[in-house]
């Protein structure tokens, strides 16, 4: 069978959901970062798929994906920096333990 747009979108959605699940449920902050990366990549896949199947001659999606990867990298760096700062003050990277912003 030939792959169509729906296949790639379903893949993207699945990856996004898994990433979302991980971002909302995992304790470890690094795993949350990884999940966020996963969500970003899932959206990249859907960007490329839409661009390949809808407007193949325009490489709009592919170019946007390159930008998105670069942003993801920068954001991962910043995220890691924040995690290191939190670790320094809280001695833990358990996300449930960092709950100062509450009533």
């Amino acid at each position: 069978m030939s792959l169509s747009l729906e296949h790639y979108l379903i893949l993207s959605a699945a990856l996004f959901s898994i990433g979302l699940y991980g971002a909302l449920t995992k304790r470890s902050a690094i795993v949350i970062l990884m999940s966020i990366e996963l969500m970003l990549n899932a959206s990249n896949i859907s960007l490329v798929a839409f661009s390949r199947y809808i407007v193949p001659t325009l490489l709009t999606g592919q170019v946007f994906t390159i930008f998105s990867i670069a942003v993801a990298a920068a954001e991962a760096t910043v995220g890691l920096a924040i995690i290191m700062a939190i670790y320094r003050s809280h001695e833990t990277i358990d996300a449930t333990k960092v709950d100062l912003m509450k009533w």
């Binding site: 979302l20 971002a23 909302l24 449920t25 996300a95 449930t96 960092v98 709950d99 100062l100 509450k102």
Partner: protein, 664 residues
């Protein structure tokens, strides 16, 4: 001058003295310091009233049925009930009283200018005098019993004020109180009669009551009770037995007051009242008999007490009571004319006697006859007028008293023989005690220590005092002559069957006048024998009749009877105190119980309060608490955990996108 007086001027007869009272009391006394001004005001008012009264007399003589019809005006109208009109009834009876009151009042007020000279209460005196005169004139003029009662009470009030004129003297103050309280007892009867008449006949108009009594509509027990009630009022006011005790004490007031009020006018109001309501008495034999008996009894009783008094004014007071009894007897046995004729004459000579006593007091400073004597030499005018008045009251022909007394004697011999003998005894005693006064005061030698108000020797009073006495003396001589041919009787509408109409000398053809003249002469002779010529000794006679003397001089122990009964009433106040105790226990206990009830009530109240607290506060607090609880619950969402916030965000996005997806 037209013969008929205009109606407005009739009203003025009693309005002028009221105006005089108001002017004196509210302007002259507080603001002006001219002592004699109040006297002038009062005298001019009463003089005008006198002139108007004369005019009324002239009008009345030419008017049909001797009656003036004065239109009245409505005062109190109750729908379907009583209506009281303020109106005047001017008939012959009224005009007789008007003349008497205004004339005697005028003379007394002129006299008072001299007698009350220098008294600090001069203004107050004339104010009260004016008020009294106005009340008395109003009393004789009004046409319904209710208004007459109002004026009756006003007259009593003025009497109280004037008896207690020198109120800082305790004797005067208590005498005034006694007078008022005793006459009040009589007024109770009068008021009862008024209420009875009102309830039974629905009217208090005098003319209507007359016609009801004459027609027989008002009869029997009701009529008798009403008449007796009215007579009780008269008994109180005219000091008849048994309510006579106030009049001798009333002599504490100034002598002109005694002359006016307690000799000539106010005490005559009782006689006038009986005369005014005479048709009621005529148709009730019981009431008429009561009047006669009490009148006769009083005449004798008072005369006996007058025999032994050492005080001039006391003798005159008892004489007044006795003569009033005569008038009542005359009314009951002979009709209005007989009683009123004696009232007419008595007013003049009794006022004169009192003024003479005042003159003597002015000269000697005392009323005690034991301190007097020989005054005829230094006070000729007083002596002459007093003598004339004494002869008149003793009933010596041809003076005034003779004519009216013999009318009464004639009527009583025909109707009430027993009372006739009492009346005859009174004639003797009257002559005796009056001439006892004359001889003790004016005869013999002066026994007093020093003189009166002005100098060491007694002297004649000023002419402002003697001139009124002379006028009254002329009247005391001649006022009886208007009935020589029965004119007075006819004028009063009572052409009585028993009456002397033979004239000046013709009357002496009858035996009865001779009997009374002999009795009077005997009384005078006896007085002369004891007090002047000393053929008999007063002390010996006193010892001879010692128990009688005691009885008389202690006034039959009436005062003790009344006051001890009053003490009994204080014991009765033991009854009152018991009632009060019962009352306090019951009422206070009741209130306390009630209070306990209130406490019980307060249980109810406290439960209400409880409900109120729990309910209201619970509601308010509940709202607050639930809000806080909700907040507490909602604040659980603020976990501070990022991931939870992320869940909420995703859920929100999902919700929005689903909504958008399904709504498009």
């Amino acid at each position: 001058m037209e013969t008929v007086i205009p109606n407005a001027l009739v009203w003025l007869i009693f309005l002028l003295p009221i105006l005089s009272f108001a002017v004196i009391a509210f302007f002259v006394r507080p603001f002006l310091n001219k002592p004699r001004l109040s006297g002038y005001i009062s005298i001019s008012a009463i003089f005008s009233s006198f002139i108007l009264s004369i005019w009324v007399l002239i009008s009345l003589l030419s008017a049909p049925s001797h009656e003036l019809v004065i239109p009245n005006f409505s005062w109190l109208i109750i729908e379907g009930g009583v209506s009281i009109h303020f109106g005047l009834l001017i008939n012959s009876l009224t005009v007789v009283m008007l003349i008497v009151v205004t004339l005697v009042s005028l003379m007394v007020q002129l006299y008072s200018q001299g007698y009350m000279h220098g008294d600090p209460g001069y203004h107050r005196y004339y104010a009260y005098m004016s008020l009294f005169t106005a009340s008395m004139l109003g009393l004789v003029m009004v046409d319904n019993l209710l208004l007459m009662f109002v004026f009756w009470e006003m007259v009593g009030l003025c009497s109280y004020l004037l008896i207690g004129f020198w109120f800082h003297r305790s004797a005067a103050a208590s005498a005034a109180k006694k007078a008022f309280v005793v006459t009040r007892i009589g007024d109770f009867g009068f008021l009862g009669a008024i209420l009875l008449l009102l309830s039974q006949t629905g009217t208090l108009d005098i003319a209507q009551l007359h016609s009801l009594a004459i027609a027989g509509t008002l009869a029997g027990t009701v009529l008798t009770l009403a008449a007796l009630g009215i007579f009780l009022g008269a008994v109180g006011k005219s000091a008849q037995f048994p309510l006579h005790v106030w009049l001798p004490d009333a002599m504490e007031g100034p002598t002109p007051v005694s002359a006016l009020i307690h000799a000539a006018t106010m005490v005559a109001a009782g006689v006038f009242l009986v005369g005014r309501m005479f048709p009621l008495f005529e148709h009730s034999q019981t009431a008429l008999l009561t009047v006669a008996i009490i009148g006769g009894l009083t005449a004798v009783l008072a005369a006996t007490m007058g025999l032994v008094m050492p005080d001039i004014k006391r003798v005159l007071a008892y004489s007044t009571i006795s003569q009033l009894g005569y008038m009542m007897l005359g009314l009951a046995t002979g009709g209005i004319a007989v009683g009123m004729f004696h009232l007419f004459n008595h007013a003049f000579f009794k006022a004169l006697l009192f003024l003479g006593a005042g003159s003597v007091n002015h000269a000697t400073g005392t009323f005690d006859m034991r301190q007097m004597g020989g005054l005829r030499k230094v006070m000729p005018w007083t002596y002459a007028t007093f003598l004339i008045a004494s002869l008149s009251i003793a009933g010596i022909w041809p003076l005034a008293g003779f004519w009216s007394k013999d009318e009464i004697l004639l009527s009583s011999i025909h109707n009430q023989p027993i009372l006739f003998y009492l009346a005859m005894a009174t004639v003797f005693m009257t002559a005796f005690y009056m001439f006892r006064v004359v001889f003790l005061t004016f005869g013999g030698q002066y026994r007093g220590s020093s003189g009166g108000s002005h100098s060491s020797r007694p002297h004649e009073s000023p002419s402002v005092m003697t001139m009124p006495m002379v006028v009254l003396a002329v009247l005391a001589i001649g006022s009886g002559w208007i009935n020589i041919t029965g004119g007075f009787n006819q004028f009063l509408g009572h052409g009585e069957t028993h009456s002397f109409t033979e004239g000046f000398f013709g009357i002496l053809a009858h035996p009865l006048p001779w009997v009374s003249l002999i009795l009077a002469g005997a009384g005078i002779l006896l007085a002369y024998a004891i007090y002047s010529a000393r053929w008999l000794s007063a002390e010996q006679i006193t010892r001879l009749f010692a128990p009688l003397h005691l009885l008389f001089s202690r006034k039959y122990w009436f005062d003790e009877l009344y006051e001890n009964i009053i003490v009994k009433i204080i014991l009765l106040k033991g009854l009152f105190a018991g009632v009060k105790l019962f009352d306090s226990k019951l009422i206070d206990g009741g209130i306390n119980t009630f209070f306990i009830e209130n406490v019980l009530f307060r249980r109810f109240f406290s439960s209400l309060k409880l409900f109120d607290d729990k309910g209201v506060d619970g509601a308010v607090n509940g709202v607050a608490d639930s809000t806080i609880a909700t907040g507490r619950v909602l604040s659980k969402t603020q976990t501070g955990q990022l991931q939870l916030y992320g869940v909420f965000i995703i859920l929100g996005i999902l919700a929005i996108s689903l909504t958008l997806f399904f709504s498009s």
